[in-house]
């Protein structure tokens, strides 16, 4: 934890019509770390993700990412800075092929110009085959290459979740944010997914932040955890520390414990 922090969030605040969704949120993540953000339903986890990725504008606070404050930047700019995410409710481009879904994410690094596209220059053809090769490479890792021509909407739920991760990877992020990646998966699928997350972290030298509300799941894979309840961090530490934390148990099981 003495490494340089990739991202450091301080005093983040957001309220919706008088309701404090997130308050006094302080957070840091080091390069190549795998951190989990957990908490009961409605604790404000997804709101934090939306604040980081620019979907919502925070009322207060700052989000430093590689010495730059992300607050006020458009979501697409934040993505080009090196942050990519998946969605809790899958948001693929449903009527497009799996391959196109991934290619779209590669657009921010498009290797040819608009004019090159219109006039079909050699650079266009070269660029298109580069994009295709890269997209196929990512699909290969997730064992989805044989599904490349299928429409995203026609794939089973678990595969759609994995395509979301592939798509996020194709933006070549430094920080990958996964919003309940294992939701709706059975234990075997979840186990396989966790293996995959460990693998891509090593392979692409990624920093990963993930949300899960299923505690047992995060405990296995994350190095460090933050626990959010009613928009506030109530605990921070290694999985072992969190497991023993009284406030966390209360938050999950209600006030009456004990």
């Amino acid at each position: 934890m003495d490494d340089i922090n990739l991202m450091e969030i301080s005093k983040l605040e957001k309220s919706f019509g008088g309701l404090n969704a997130v308050q006094d949120f302080n957070f840091h993540i080091a390069e190549n770390e795998l951190v989990g953000l957990i908490g009961p339903n409605g604790a404000g986890k997804t709101t934090v993700f939306n604040l980081i990725t620019g979907v919502y504008k925070p009322d207060n606070g700052c989000i430093m990412f590689r010495d730059e404050n992300l607050v006020g930047m458009a979501p697409h700019t934040i993505c080009t800075k090196g942050i990519a995410r998946t969605f809790q409710n899958i948001r693929l481009f449903n009527d497009l092929s799996v391959l196109d879904n991934v290619k779209i994410a590669a657009h921010k690094n498009v290797p040819y110009s608009l004019m090159g596209a219109v006039f079909r220059t050699p650079g266009y053809f070269r660029g298109e085959s580069e994009i295709e090769a890269e997209a196929l490479h990512y699909l290969e890792i997730f064992n989805l290459r044989n599904k490349k021509d299928e429409l995203a909407r026609n794939l089973p739920y678990g595969e759609q979740r994995r395509i979301e991760i592939v798509r996020a990877l194709a933006t070549r992020p430094l920080l990958l944010i996964l919003d309940e990646p294992a939701a709706g998966m059975n234990p075997q699928e979840t186990q396989a997914l966790m293996e995959l997350i460990r693998y891509i972290r090593k392979e692409f030298n990624l920093t990963i932040l993930l949300i899960e509300h299923d505690m047992s799941l995060v405990m296995g894979v994350c190095e460090r955890l933050y626990v959010l309840d009613y928009g506030q961090i109530i605990a921070e530490g290694t999985p072992a520390e969190i497991r023993a934390d009284k406030r966390v148990i209360e938050a999950y099981l209600g006030e009456d414990v004990g």
Binding site: T46, N50, V55, Y56, F87
Partner: protein, 293 residues
């Protein structure tokens, strides 16, 4: 100052007509999130029904207006059943395109049947008298239009606020699924909304016939668009907003014709629309809502 007051008097009756049409737009939008493009044309049908009631059947203006309102209420329900209901679960764009189709259909089917020529609204149905009121000239037709519009708006308020039907309408527009769970028939409520909105439009059509002395198959387009602007101005889906918006549009239009260039009369409405859409798309009384991710 006197002239200014005179312009306001002139604008009030036009504003009342726009408000009546705007109410229909706003009620329909509130309940099924559809810009009913054909609403202005339903108004035209109402004007036409009253015209035939006056000329062919020789009824008086009150019977003609009642006939127009009943006919259009039925007609509005039919349009919703045939054209809009099948699209209730498709995209809003598809529904909007259908509404444009219904609008074109009403306009040109009317032309096909009755010809494109404009018909003179029988003057005998409503003999014009002018009253002098402290230097102001007030026409009886303006008084008639204004008073009947206000009466209709009060009745509408009563229905929405105090009757079971009105409560059902408000419930469906707030949360359709919850309304179903409370035992409200969504289909029936939507039909009633179309019936009421179309009846109000028909009344406005009759008033417009009296106001301009003519009826024609394309008469619904421009007033329809202006009333739509009025609905957006007040905050679409918000009933008092539509009334305020209607009066604002009517007054604005008479002011522009009275003091400025009447060629720009129609452009003003579009200018207002763009202004409001760019500054505050939710309208004067609306609240901004974000998208949930």
């Amino acid at each position: 100052m006197l002239e200014f007051t005179q312009q306001i008097v002139n604008g009030l009756s036009l504003g009342a007509i726009y408000a009546l049409i705007a109410l229909g737009y706003t009620m329909v939008y509130g309940i099924i999130k559809l810009i009913n493009f054909a609403h202005g044309d339903i108004m035209m049908v109402g004007a036409l029904v009253s015209y035939f009631s006056l000329t062919l059947l020789g009824t008086n203006i009150f019977v003609a207006m009642a006939a127009a309102m009943i006919a259009c209420a039925v007609f509005g329900v039919l349009i919703e059943k045939i054209a809009y209901r099948p699209l209730r679960n498709s995209t809003r764009i598809a529904a909007l395109i259908t509404a444009i189709g219904v609008s074109l259909f009403l306009e040109y089917f009317t032309i096909f049947i009755f010809g494109p020529a404009q018909k003179v609204f029988p003057a005998s149905a409503f003999p014009i008298k002018a009253y002098a009121l402290g230097g102001l000239s007030v026409l009886n037709k303006d008084v008639f239009v204004f008073v009947s519009a206000v009466v209709l708006m009060i009745i509408l308020q009563y229905i929405i606020k105090w009757t079971k039907t009105g409560k059902a309408m408000r419930a469906v527009s707030l949360d359709q699924e919850a309304a179903v769970l409370m035992g409200i028939s969504v289909d029936k409520t939507i039909s009633i909304t179309f019936a009421i909105g179309s009846a109000l439009a028909a009344a406005a059509g009759v008033m417009l016939g009296i106001y301009y002395n003519t009826v024609n198959p394309l008469m619904g387009i421009i007033p329809g668009l202006k009333a739509f602007v009025a609905a957006v101005l007040g905050g679409i889906g918000i009933i008092p907003g539509a009334m305020v918006g209607g009066f604002v549009m009517g007054l604005l239009e008479t002011m522009v014709s009275g003091y400025g260039n009447s060629l720009y009369r129609d452009a003003v409405a579009f200018g207002v629309l763009i202004f409001i859409l760019l500054i505050k798309p939710s309208g004067i009384f609306g609240e901004d809502t974000g998208e949930k991710v």
